[in-house]
């Protein structure tokens, strides 16, 4: 029933399989294969065909096996599939492993320079004389190792009808138009394609055909989208520390802010990016800036988030706005730094000792990384609290198809800030932690305010409504209750879930973040199996009323996530105590993005069809 087995069935009676298959490419990391892989993915995209590319790479810089999986899907299914239809084997170390990934009838394209036996008769084999082709090309000696991987790009041009013009476009984009590298690589691709045409007979059924579907779209990874979003969100301070897979976000801020954020009037920077000495300092700086009245953020991953615990508590309790991006990788501890997960949800929600409840956002696409990139600042300043945006490695570092980014549709919300004239009006009468509006959100002033009544003393210790030090039990209790009320206000401000309802569904799937594509696919398969299921894609915690509604209106809810403990399942259980019996946790973490088939299987196990 899965796409790919459908495909291999297809092979038997040599039908053509068009725009509906997947490729796994095994190479050596640090060998320039990234360029080849991206080029293939980008050219397919430019052919107008829905495509996804996922990097499964080792935590090291050079010399280890690394994989890239490309899925082409005319129906727009972009999640991972369990087995590839085509394997390109360029890495000696993982050669057997890679060959064995193929189902019977699969296609193996490989470097015949690898001195290993293929040892399978049940697959189609296309050996490539990589060294020969590279030497034949007039590539300068020192670059040969790097272009070697272009040979398999050429092979796909020949075998799959990968459009060579789009390939050139992709190269030009990759090398930002620099003629020399473009032509060197292009030339190798071309000659490889010609060699294949001349020397290998195509016997496999897979083909690419141009479509219109993706024409109006763009390719971007979540980290880059987040950086662009932050730039349009008016980010003014970034304190960060390098960590996989969050580094790319800061890297992109370093690219986009200088482009987009010079002061139109003076040409000087309206932002500052500081690489801190560690994550404690990174968030400390961000809190200092947020307290100072700047739109402030930090970006990190699990280990960094753990180090931020104490500071997050300070931000929560002193009510300092800031945005914390957690591009999740596999924990516990250092875990699998280059693999994806959704394992930090509970940690982030309760981060900080004592009673804390943090607001979380879950972008479910590259577009939402952009959108939450700016929205998160409005929320942070409105709520005067840290806002956590939980992305993950799959979303953050892989290329995703996205609509073009739209200009923020609302004015910036700088929240409740009092300046000199406001204090004049109030005759200087105000209290930093007074709940004037009954929404639990107090007013604040920021340094530089010259009104003699503007200053207040920020602290992580007990305080009264006027920010004075207080150990008084009543002061403390009231302040904590106001914070609780503020959290309830947050419930009304965070993004609503996206709900996809289908005819006659009695059950629902609740998921969030990068698993979206796999869940959509699973939802369709369920439909095929006569198990219509509605799908709610959660976008924030606290849960909004519509989430409760969704639970109420379904017989059973499957909470799908990429962690061991079913973390959102747990938090949701606490939200709907009377209906926990309906909630089924469908959770797993092994470093790989979830597959539609696995989700399907888990649900069918319970629904029993």
């Amino acid at each position: 029933m899965s796409e790919s087995s459908a495909v291999s069935a297809g092979i038997a009676n040599q039908d053509q399989v068009v725009n509906d298959f997947s490729i796994t490419i095994g190479t050596v990391n640090g060998s320039g294969s990234q360029t080849s892989n991206l080029t293939i993915m980008r050219s397919i995209f430019k052919m107008g065909i829905p495509v996804s590319g996922k990097n499964i790479y080792p935590s090291n810089i050079q010399g280890m096996p690394t994989w890239y999986t490309i899925r082409v899907s005319k129906d727009g299914y972009l999640g991972r599939v369990p087995e590839p239809d085509i394997v390109i084997a360029m890495c000696p170390e993982s050669f057997e492993e890679d060959v064995n990934r193929l189902p019977p009838g699969g296609v193996l394209i490989y470097d015949q320079g690898i001195r290993k036996e293929v040892g399978r008769e049940d697959i189609i084999r296309y050996p490539l004389p990589v060294q020969k082709l590279v030497r034949a090309s007039d590539t300068p000696r020192n670059l040969r190792d790097y272009v070697a991987n272009m040979v398999y790009v050429g092979a796909l041009v020949n075998f799959l009808n990968l459009d060579i013009d789009k390939v050139r476009q992709a190269l030009e984009y990759h090398f930002s138009g620099r003629e020399k590298p473009v032509s060197i690589n292009y030339q190798v691709i071309q000659s490889a394609a010609e060699w294949c045409a001349a020397n290998i007979e195509k016997v496999d059924p897979y083909r690419l055909e141009s479509m219109e579907v993706t024409k109006k779209y763009k390719l971007v990874n979540g980290n880059e989208a987040a950086a662009i979003g932050a730039a349009f969100g008016g980010v003014q301070f970034v304190g960060w520390y390098p960590i996989t897979p969050a580094t790319g976000l800061a890297d992109m801020l370093k690219v986009y802010l200088p482009k987009l954020r010079k002061d139109p009037e003076t040409g000087r920077n309206t932002f500052a990016i500081v690489q801190a000495e560690d994550e404690l300092a990174a968030i400390g700086m961000a809190i200092g800036a947020g307290w100072g009245g700047l739109r402030s953020m930090t970006s990190t991953s699990g280990p960094g988030l753990s180090l931020m615990a104490e500071f997050v508590g300070l931000a929560y309790f002193s009510e300092t706005p800031l945005v914390v991006w957690d591009v999740q990788r596999v924990g516990p501890s250092t875990g699998l730094p280059t693999r994806t997960s959704q394992g930090d949800v509970i940690m982030a929600h309760y981060l900080g000792h004592g009673d804390t409840q943090n607001v979380l956002l879950f972008p479910g696409s590259a577009y939402e990384c952009f959108e939450f990139g700016w929205k998160s600042f409005d929320l942070a300043e409105r709520l005067q609290t840290p806002i956590f945006v939980l992305s993950d490695l799959d979303l953050g570092v892989n290329q995703w198809i996205t609509e073009e980014f739209e200009y923020p549709d609302v004015e910036m919300d700088r929240g409740k800030v009092l300046w000199e004239e406001d204090l004049e009006e109030l005759g200087g009468e105000w209290g930093r932690y007074l709940d004037v509006d009954g929404d639990g959100i107090p007013y604040r002033t920021v340094p530089g305010n010259k009104h003699p009544k503007s200053a207040w003393f920020a602290r992580g210790t007990g305080h009264d409504a006027y920010a004075r030090y207080s150990e008084d039990p009543e002061d403390f209790r009231q302040n904590m209750e106001r914070l609780q009320k503020k959290y309830e206000t947050a419930r009304t401000l965070v993004p609503e879930p996206v709900i996809d309802e289908v005819e006659g569904a009695e059950i629902g799937i609740l998921a969030y973040g990068s698993t979206d594509s796999a869940v959509q696919e699973a939802q369709d398969y369920l439909q095929d199996k006569g198990i219509p299921a509605d799908y709610l894609r959660l976008r924030a915690i606290p849960f909004t009323s519509s989430v409760r509604e969704f639970v109420k209106n379904h017989r059973r809810i499957y909470v799908v996530e990429m962690n061991r403990d079913g973390q959102v399942h747990k938090l949701l259980s606490l939200e709907v105590p009377e209906e926990t019996h309906k909630l089924v946790s469908v959770a797993k973490v092994d470093g790989l993005p979830l597959e539609a088939e696995w989700i399907l299987g888990e649900i069918i196990n319970v629904e029993g069809k």
Binding site: L219, G239, R261, I287, W291, E406, P447, H451, P452, R459
Partner: protein, 344 residues
């Protein structure tokens, strides 16, 4: 200026009381108390508007002291050992404000060592005052990292470790203004504070500030009596505000002059040997000699007015970032089109 300071008002029309804060909860006689008082006097004498100062601190008796002065200045009393990072982010909010950090020896040299070293490395525009008493006052007197080796305290026993020397650390980290003072010598503190207020980058001031409750033994550094008996000033230091005439008659022979970016001057009058405050090497040698001689050497050890501050490095707009209108921090509609164009 002294003249227009009639009826207790200074040039900006404020009385000394306008520079005070909440009632102190420090122990009577605490060294930190006298530092607090000097801050009050200095700001008053320099005619600083309290609203133009922003205070930062960590956790400790020293760190809570900012609540007891400059009540009209914004302040962030943060986390233990993390004052430097808070300040680093906050100075970008309004770079026209003067940032002052108040910390303790535990806050700076124990839990805070990393941030201390890195805030100096970045030359953040911050007056960083370490109120150094060799113990953790607020947690009742455990040894801090600056406690002398061999120091013996009733409840704590004997300290077996070599002390961290704040000034030595500052020099190793290329801090651009490095001084040491003593709570018992208020005149010098005042002049050093004034000079620091005119410095553009980081000024590290290690103030030996006795803890009368837990570490004030006559025979030990960090005590009033030891300090009084062993303090030796490197030089006689006088601060001359911008646009003011040097009142003392200036004598090339025994005096050196350092001109600060704001036009103010520091006049250093030789005491004993001459010390070249532009030389880190000379400063380190002074330290070593002081250690050998067992004296408490105070004064300005080193100054470098050339290094750009973190604010300079980041080239931010003249106007305070936290006052930029939404239009100036959100790119235009055109910009989003350009971005979309750029993407593949």
């Amino acid at each position: 200026m002294a003249n227009n300071r009639g009826n207790g008002k200074n040039a900006v029309g404020l009385t000394k009381d306008d520079y005070r804060g909440a009632p102190s909860t420090l122990c009577k006689g605490c060294g930190h108390e006298s530092i607090a008082n000097q801050v009050i006097s200095v700001m008053y004498e320099l005619d600083v508007l309290p609203e133009n100062v922003v205070k930062f601190s960590g956790i400790g008796c020293s760190s809570k002291s900012p609540a007891y002065f400059l009540g009209r200045s914004f302040a962030f009393n943060g986390l233990h050992g993390r004052m430097p990072s808070l300040a680093t982010g906050a100075v970008f909010a309004d770079h026209t404000l003067k940032a002052m950090g108040f910390s303790g020896d535990g806050d700076t040299a124990s839990i805070g060592m990393g941030q201390f070293k890195h805030v100096m490395r970045r030359n953040v525009p911050l007056v960083y005052i370490v109120e150094n008493n060799g113990v953790y006052g607020l947690t009742k007197g455990q040894f801090s990292a600056t406690a002398d080796q061999g120091l013996e305290l009733k409840k704590q026993g004997l300290n077996p470790y070599m002390p961290v020397d704040i000034v030595r650390e500052a020099l190793a980290s290329n801090a651009t203004f490095v001084a040491r003072a003593f709570s018992g010598d208020v005149k010098q503190i005042r002049e050093i504070l004034k000079a620091a207020m005119s410095h553009q980058g980081i000024s590290v001031i290690d103030v030996i500030s006795p803890c009368v409750s837990f570490n004030n033994q006559d025979d030990a550094l960090h005590s009033y009596s030891w300090g009084r008996e062993h303090e030796v000033a490197i030089h006689d230091l006088a601060y001359v505000p911008p646009r003011e005439e040097i009142e003392v008659d200036y004598d090339e022979e025994v005096m050196k002059k350092v001109t600060m970016h704001d036009g103010s001057k520091i006049i250093l009058q030789k005491i004993g040997e001459e010390h070249d405050i532009s030389s880190r090497v000379a400063a380190v040698n002074l330290l070593d000699r002081a250690d050998e001689e067992g004296i408490l050497l105070t004064g300005l050890f080193y100054i470098n007015t050339e290094q750009p501050s973190l604010i300079d490095i980041k080239g931010i707009s003249e106007e305070p970032l936290n006052r930029l209108s939404n239009e100036r921090i959100r790119p235009s509609r055109q910009a989003i089109q350009d971005v979309n164009e750029m993407l593949f």
